[in-house]
Amino acid sequence: MATKTKVNRRKPGNVAEFDIRSCAQAKVNKALAADDKIALYRRMVAIRRFEERSLRAYQQGKIAGFLHLYIGQEAVATGAVSVMGAEDQVITAYRDHGHALACGMGMRECMAELFGKTTGCCKGKGGSMHLFAPEKRFWGGHGIVAGQTPLGAGIAFALKYQQKRACCLCFLGDGATNQGAFYESLNLASLWDLPVVFIIENNGYSMGTAVQRHSAGLPLTKRGTGVGMESATCNGHLIYEVRAKTAEAIARAYDQSKPTLIEVDTYRYRGHSVSDPDQTYRTKKEVEDYRKNRDPITIFREILREEEVMNDEQASSIDREIRKAAEEAARFADESPFPPTEELTRDIYWEEDNPEEKTSRGTIFFN
């Protein structure tokens, strides 16, 4: 039985394998100034250090429930979000800290949310899997696998209805591709020409089940073929390629109001959630190979060094600065108060939160 075999899903290559030059030449990357590149690097490092710090907080018992870390996948959210237009929107699943930070959420309110504190982005009501920042066009943070995919199509529907030149980036994992809601979303998006970009972050495992064991008819881009959707594959270890492929899809959404399905090859270093066993379905060696040979931050640092944009000293200084910020965010979260008891019954109904505009009568809470 395959279930008893540890599946080595891919043989990690090394940096030289990647066609760095061609995607660096993509218009969207050529347009980057040195400062922009450093900002991208900084953001990726910020996500990693944030995640590492939150892991420590989890181990200290400061964070409840689940903690799904984005370590290893940083280039995907950072790259995709970095090519968005002013009115484009983002929605994702439960491994969402990276996307929230990429959209511009501060480390403090993000960490405080993980701690369940009132200073969190959602006042401690959503938690790790349900981060939201609509003012930053970040629509969550969704805990149920693929449950966000119709919402992403709905956001795109609204943008089209409002006649905006804008699209929605809807992220999902490889595991979500086997949910019915995802198929329905693909069909509806293609049928109605919705400006949505579905970005499958294929990190190789739906929880502990390798992609070869959960999906027939690979590659996953084929899931778009049946509904006539354009698709692309993308090396998710390479931020330039993520940017180039996402920009193409966004242009298709803008110019033709057509959806795109992108399958991004990526990898997570930590378990599905940090408390889950990590050695039952993959080997230590596999993780180490990825860390050593395909780490998106290491690769980008080397590229920036080659491009003479950033030297090692600058990189170290960025790292120190960000470690400090992550530490400061954890301190802020730790020192922040938990929400007061009355918050339990706030933010349930808009009407109850806005009594001056309330029109309904009667009892709404049955406590």
Partner: protein
């Protein structure tokens, strides 16, 4: 006042609200070209065009989720389900997403969504098409649910539901679509959470929602003519929010209660109402609170038995006599 059908009353409400607010659109299976599987949306495609009256494939989870996503962005979708039974394949979108988004976002998001369609048995369509999930909905903080019984009520409440900034579930009934009633020509809205005394009485309160209200009105006639019992009929109209004051006032006046619903008995809406009555009006009760619900079994297909399964006026009258 014109006499129109329950179906026409909904159609008028949809049309008026779509005229009033460009953010309102209608989406569902067969709502456009087909003119509505129960003709509730007849002529709306012609009136508003295909941008705002949208036929969907049979993808309930997909289009329910599109409704939620569009509502987050500030549109005001009206999502029709051909039957409320079909929400069961969209459960995640309704009960996880529509219900919880505001809370989980700490109040940053609201979901001005209407989900509507019929929820009833009595039409010989078997168990999968006869679900009445108002109790699930009412059990879910974040959702509102109403069950109007008359053309007047459904029009006024549908308009309120569309203007509401929270997700509102409107449960209609295919057996009511042809029922006629007086509806004023002038615009009106009925606030959610307001019950209506459909018949004043002094001896016993028959409390109901949806089509059971009609059943109770018939039962009240029987009780008057056969037993000289003067029954009051309280139409809840809205379940969450719930007009608890009107319920309690009626109980304090009549001192006897029969709760009637077409849903199954266990954990139904009326179980909660029975609890509230004993909690708030215990000293006023002269008899135990009684309930009449559908017989506790999956909805049967065979018509003669389904007629027995759903509460009828005789069963309500019989139960009332037991406590007088």
């Amino acid at each position: 006042m014109a006499r129109i059908s329950y179906r026409e009353a909904i159609q008028q409400a949809l049309s008026e609200e779509m005229k009033r607010d460009g953010r309102v659109f209608l989406m569902g299976e067969e709502v456009a070209q087909f003119q509505g599987s129960y003709k509730v949306t007849e002529n709306l495609l012609e009136e508003f065009g295909s941008r705002r009256v949208i036929d969907t494939p049979i993808s309930e989870a997909g289009f329910a989720g599109i409704g939620v996503g569009a509502a987050m962005m500030g549109l005001r979708p009206v999502i029709e389900f051909m039957f409320w039974s079909f929400t069961y394949v969209a459960f995640d979108q309704v009960f996880n997403n529509a219900a919880n988004l505001r809370y989980m976002s700490g109040g940053l998001i609201n979901v001005p969504l209407v989900i509507r369609g019929p929820a009833n048995g009595g039409t010989g369509v078997g168990a999968t098409h006869s679900q009445t999930p108002e109790n699930f909905i009412a059990n879910t903080p974040g959702l509102k649910v109403v069950c109007p019984a008359t053309p007047y009520d459904v029009k006024g409440m549908m308009k309120s539901a569309i203007r509401d900034n929270d997700p509102v579930c409107v449960m209609e009934n295919t057996l009511l679509y042809n029922e006629q009633g007086e509806v004023p020509a002038d615009e009106y809205v009925i606030p959610l959470g307001l019950a209506d005394i459909k018949r004043k009485g002094t001896d016993i309160s028959l409390i109901a929602h949806g089509r059971s209200v009609i059943t109770c009105l018939k039962a009240a006639e029987i009780l008057e003519s056969e037993d000289e019992i003067n029954a009051e009929v309280v139409d809840l109209r809205s379940l969450r929010p719930l007009d608890t004051d009107t319920i309690i006032e009626s109980v304090k006046k009549t001192n006897r209660v029969v709760l009637v619903e077409e849903n199954k008995p266990f954990c139904g809406i009326d179980a909660q109402i029975a609890f509230m009555i004993q909690d708030r009006a215990f000293d006023w009760l002269d008899a135990p609170v009684k309930r009449v619900s559908s017989i506790d079994a999956p909805q049967i297909y065979s018509m003669p038995l389904e007629k027995l399964q759903i509460p009828d006026a005789q069963r309500v009258a019989r139960t009332a006599r037991e406590i007088i």
